[in-house]
């Protein structure tokens, strides 16, 4: 390390805040603001206007209008709420349930066989098919969508955490703690979990990104949120028949979707690099 870089550490940007991380954080912030304020100030964009059908982007309608004369800008901004809510709720649900099952499977050998064979079974079914099946059983709605997306993700997270716990439980400090008289719950909470939390956090960001995509796919297929609640998926679905005439209906929600998923994934990568000391890049 050169002397100049040591001189003013307080002025330097923290190491984790590099260009891609700050860009994705800014995008995430904008999308969050859209999700919170959009439906409050702009409504759901359900007003039909027959004089404004399939208009290209203009000063009146920034992102153009769709085949029913609805403002694509309003629908895109308000649709962010659906993606964000589904993404976050799924991530938390999968984190809790998948994490719990993973720790149980990793620490208690008797539970391992049962849980992992069950996970194998679930993972054999394509996620989106399983989600469609669950929605058709449980009926549409936000909660159903969240559950339907979580179920195929839980086995993946559980399996990852199981393998992390399997390595940690064999480390000498666990034995050392047992030799001091620690009980099993104590060991799990104080020795296993703090060392597994990094992997779990990174996995959660990926689950979040995957959930946003799955929600869009379900809405696109018409089994997600009801049509009166705008979601990027159903906005894209409404524009798919007019793609050659009015590409803006698909383009704007599509771009937003890509940006959101990309930002979450980049943040996940950054998190992984920061939390894994072996990946730390040496500064010249």
């Amino acid at each position: 390390m050169s002397a100049t870089s040591v001189a003013a550490p307080s002025l330097r940007r923290p190491e984790w805040l590099n260009l891609s991380a700050s860009l994705s954080l800014s995008f995430l912030f904008i999308i969050f603001v859209m999700a919170i304020l959009g439906p409050m100030f702009l409504g759901n964009g359900n007003e039909l206007n027959s004089t404004m059908r399939l208009k290209p982007p203009s000063a009146e309608a920034w992102f153009g209008t769709d085949n029913l004369g609805r403002d694509v800008f309003v629908r895109t901004v308000s649709g962010a709420r659906n993606s964000v809510v589904v993404g976050l709720c799924t991530a938390v649900l999968v984190l809790l349930i998948g994490g719990l099952l993973g720790v149980i499977a990793g620490y208690f050998r008797w539970a391992d066989m049962v849980l992992m064979r069950f996970a194998d079974g679930l993972m054999a079914i394509p996620g989106i098919l399983l989600a469609i099946a669950l929605v058709s059983i449980l009926g549409g709605g936000l909660v159903t969508v969240i559950i339907a997306i979580s179920v195929p993700e839980i086995p993946r997270t559980a399996r990852l955490l199981r393998s992390v716990v399997l390595t940690i439980r064999e480390l000498p400090f666990v034995m050392a703690s047992v030799s001091l008289g620690s009980s099993t719950p104590k060991i799990i909470v104080q020795h296993i979990l703090p060392n597994a939390v990094g992997a779990l956090m990174v996995q959660t960001t990926y689950v979040c990104a995957a959930a946003v995509l799955s929600e869009a796919a379900l809405s696109f297929l018409g089994v997600g949120t009801p049509p009166d609640v705008p979601s990027w998926g159903n906005v894209i679905a409404s524009g798919k028949d007019y793609f050659r005439l009015a590409p803006w209906i698909i383009a704007f929600p599509g771009i937003m979707l890509s940006i959101l998923v990309l930002s979450i994934n980049i943040l996940g990568d950054q998190l992984r690099d920061q939390l894994d000391p072996r990946l730390t890049k040496r500064r010249p």
């Binding site: 400090f173 050392a176 047992v178 030799s179 001091l180 008289g181 620690s182 104080q190 703090p194 060392n195």
Partner: protein
Amino acid sequence: MTQPFLSVRNLSVSFGPNGEAQVVRNVSFDLEAGKTLCIVGESGSGKSVTATSLMGLHPAASTHITADRMELDGIDLLSCDEARFAQLRGTKMAMIFQDPMSSLNPALTIGFQLREAVFLHENLSREEQDARVLDVLRRVRIPDAERRMTSYPHELSGGMRQRVMIAMALICRPKLLIADEPTTALDVTVQAQILWLLGELQREFGTAIIFITHDLGVVAEIGDEVAVMYAGTLVEKGSALDIFDHPAHGYTAGLLSATAEFHPGKAASKRLVEIPGSLPQFGHRVQGCAFADRCAYVAPTCRERTPEWREVHPKHVASCDQPIGPHVAEHQEHSI
């Protein structure tokens, strides 16, 4: 005669669902409070397994432990279940592990881990816990103890971490301390400090120590009693002085002649003598003495019958039919 503090009779340990691999066979020893027993032997001779069996650290499903007697301070360890063992660990007995680098949780501070060890067994307030932790950190000579409490393990050196491990083992004042090669991963000067520290703490608290090592220099430093293990069995037992001066078993003699000697002002006088061959395989019980194939003093009868315990000196026993007398050792020296 009073009951010794720790008494083990005919301890056997085998692993595998049907107990196929018998790694420890008929091990017996006694240990008085405040004394140090050194268990020496090469890798794989069953030293660590013997110690971890005392602590009850083996998974019950895949381990078979049998013994005629295994008592610690009047407590029958054979009848203890996991919950009882959890109570005994830390208060009655504690263990220091070989690798100080990985025996501390990297995600928690030193202070937290030490407080935890107190919290497990004693009902103290946060201030009392902190006071106890500070006290024990100072006892193991950790400089700047207040600041070290908030350090993470990676911020400490190897010797420092081993001191923290010792502090953690001693914080509840156990009566028995099992040290499983605690100095193997450390360099010689740090090793000397750690040994000195263990001796001092032993004098202060009257702790009995079982010290597992393959380093005979360490044994000479701290051992009161020495038990030599070979292929899962004890082959020789006696006071440290006796064993160093008059080894009776061929294996002990081999171990001793395999240590480097250094005489100031003299060039190295002899080549290191190694013990030829390697440990017999488990489950491959040979007839007669297990060491016969590698023994420099082997007689034809050694391969035919299992050796008996013989008292070669008062309180110095060897499981050998051809114990090396003083004259044999002299003869050996001449031939080199």
